[in-house]
Assembly symmetry: C2
Homo-oligomer: 202 residues x 2
Amino acid sequence: MAPTPEELAERRRNASREKILHVAAERLAEHGYGATSLSDIAMLAALEQTVVNFHFPTKEDLVEAVLRTGIDHAKAAIDTAIEQLGPDASGAARVETAITAYVHAISDQHHMTRANIRCYRSVPPVVRRGLAVYMREFVETWTELLADGRDDGSLRGDIDPPVVARMIIAALNSAVTWMRSDDLEHVTRQFRQSLLHGLMAP
Amino acid sequence: MAPTPEELAERRRNASREKILHVAAERLAEHGYGATSLSDIAMLAALEQTVVNFHFPTKEDLVEAVLRTGIDHAKAAIDTAIEQLGPDASGAARVETAITAYVHAISDQHHMTRANIRCYRSVPPVVRRGLAVYMREFVETWTELLADGRDDGSLRGDIDPPVVARMIIAALNSAVTWMRSDDLEHVTRQFRQSLLHGLMAP
DNA sequence: GTCTATAGTTCGATAGAC
DNA sequence: GTCTATCGAACTATAGAC
């Protein structure tokens, strides 16, 4: 059955919308919130600036959509990796897997996740409030992993999960600033070793 | 001897300049670069906006001065603490001391250091370039501490100092976002234990 | 849905009097 | 050194034609 004119219009609308989200993520990840204007995004998407405002009434709406998707992708990457580990894995093994999965998720080509890491703190308060619940859930994913490991005896008994969770996330996030793609495996290994086994000589 | 009119003028100039630096640091640390206008700073300093431009020709000049001082303070805090440790301390002991000193340096009331942590990534490229050499030195301080510890056998032999240095700095920096002043000692202890001894159960 | 034109802000920076 | 007045640039958002 041939698509109706309405269907064609919707496809075109969605195509523009997706294109905008994609280039916005690249631009936000690369240049940050303040240095990303709607005109820049429109130009990179080969559109007029007003078209961007048509799809996203305000800049805040657009940025929030990008960053929220970035959080979802990171969370999904971790969840998937842990599921593949099976239900009998220790807490320590799951934390190790989560570290690997997350560092991979923030490497090149995951623009939305990188945009979130780069821009979350510099975005207007309205946007941050809209994202707060998703970020909280993300932190809680790590907190629960750590608490499970502490309770099953595979992790130290004296760690404070909420504190350590935020420390780990920040440590891993820093890699977006300086990690190159050919460093990925090396950096991931350093992170796993340092965080799980510590810096002290055995 | 009574101060000459020139001396009085200079004192007044320096007082305004210091006041501007102080309130700018508070504002930058609290609201970030994009949400800090020269008018805000002027208002908080009980001055006109043009006076700010008199002391600092551009916003970039002002922000760079604040952030540079913040880096210097952090570096000085670490150097002082390590000196007090004496020349015979192991690399591991020095890293532990540096962690404690740095977390204290980024707690409340150190507005310039907190401004640097909060704003370094969102500041215009010109400013970041002006600060790059100081930041590099700061990272190298940590890199050398880690390399010393690795070489004297107190730290693991397989750590990659530049990678781990940046990881540690990011991990500690994250505390500015969520640490409350009554958490200071608890958080510092968690950081030291997690980073030095790892998360795994012994 | 997209384009042209423009309204309406905000902000950084400058000129000149005192 | 500080104040008054103002310029000019950049950007978000809206109105209306097609």
